[in-house]
């Protein structure tokens, strides 16, 4: 266990409140946790979800597959490093947890045309019938690596490395401009 604390600060401290009337909305997810889960070669998702539900049911078992035997476990509650250590020691040795809350940033893009906006940056087919709610894909948006998860009908959560969060944010705003024209222009 590490002997120092990592400070989890949002990179979006001065973001203006999202315009409720905008057709495409982009909002940071503040608080919560992102744990990278590394499983051994024989580990499987069902076993992981079952174990997490048993050990820390209150945190939910929202695990998003990033690679074979690797997942991001994401939740909205704040988890102390003591609690994380407890969870790790309760997990079987098949899984290792790595806290990435300070290093990976979550944001949500939503709105009727959110798919069209994302399609400008990624080639993963996000069609409603192919990319179900809850499904994730590790991909690139432009040249920035990001994980896309469909969280609701027309709503996608993105996880991006912290140092790229500002760039991705600006890029998405730019890509959404055509749908968010001021009223006087439409």
């Amino acid at each position: 266990m590490r002997d120092y604390l990592l400070e989890n600060r949002s990179p979006f401290l001065d973001v203006a409140a999202a315009d409720k009337g905008a057709s495409i909305r982009l909002a940071p997810v503040t608080g919560g946790f992102v744990f990278h889960v590394l499983g051994d070669a024989k580990s499987d998702e069902a076993a992981l979800k079952k174990a997490l539900a048993k050990i820390a049911q209150e945190l939910g078992a929202d695990v998003r597959k990033s690679a074979p035997n690797q997942w991001f476990w994401v939740g909205d509650a704040d988890v102390s490093s003591d609690q994380r250590a407890e969870i790790q020691s309760a997990l079987s040795s098949q899984f290792a947890l790595c806290d990435q809350t300070h290093g990976r940033v979550r944001m949500v893009l939503s709105g009727a045309s959110s798919r069209t906006v994302l399609a400008k940056g990624t080639m993963v087919d996000l069609s409603a019938d192919l990319f179900a709610i809850g499904q994730s894909a590790m991909t690139q948006i432009g040249h920035i690596g990001a994980m896309i998860t469909r969280v609701e009908d027309d709503s996608f959560e993105l996880i991006v490395l912290r140092s790229f969060a500002g760039s991705l944010w600006d890029e998405l705003q730019h890509m959404a401009t055509e749908f968010n024209k001021p009223a006087s222009m439409s």
């Binding site: 690679a67 074979p68 690797q70 080639m123 894909a137 590790m138 991909t139 690139q140």
Partner: protein, 92 residues
């Protein structure tokens, strides 16, 4: 985004998500093998015309090393597998 590669883990992805490492060389020589054999293994490539097996890294996706068969004449790709399968084949 023209060339598509079918990652066995992620599905169809654009070539831009991958980093190419080069030909899958024949099995590693023994540690004590002749210097010339090692030189050949490390530096000399055949540059074949036709089917070629290459290491590709899915750096923009699952970050797994893959082995991909590519036709150097047509650039057609086929048979993409996780590189760990080479180990199972005893070829790594």
């Amino acid at each position: 985004m023209s060339s598509l590669v079918k990652c066995p883990h992620c599905g169809l992805r654009p070539r831009e998500e991958f980093t190419i490492r080069g030909e899958v060389a024949a099995p590693r020589p023994d540690a004590g093998a002749d210097e010339a054999v090692w030189f050949d293994h490390v530096y000399l490539r055949d540059n074949p015309r036709g089917e070629n097996r290459e290491y590709w890294h899915h750096s923009g996706g699952c970050r797994r090393w893959l082995v991909l068969s590519r036709n150097t004449l047509t650039h057609e790709t086929s048979d993409v597998v996780d590189a760990s399968t080479l180990k199972a084949e005893g070829r790594a």
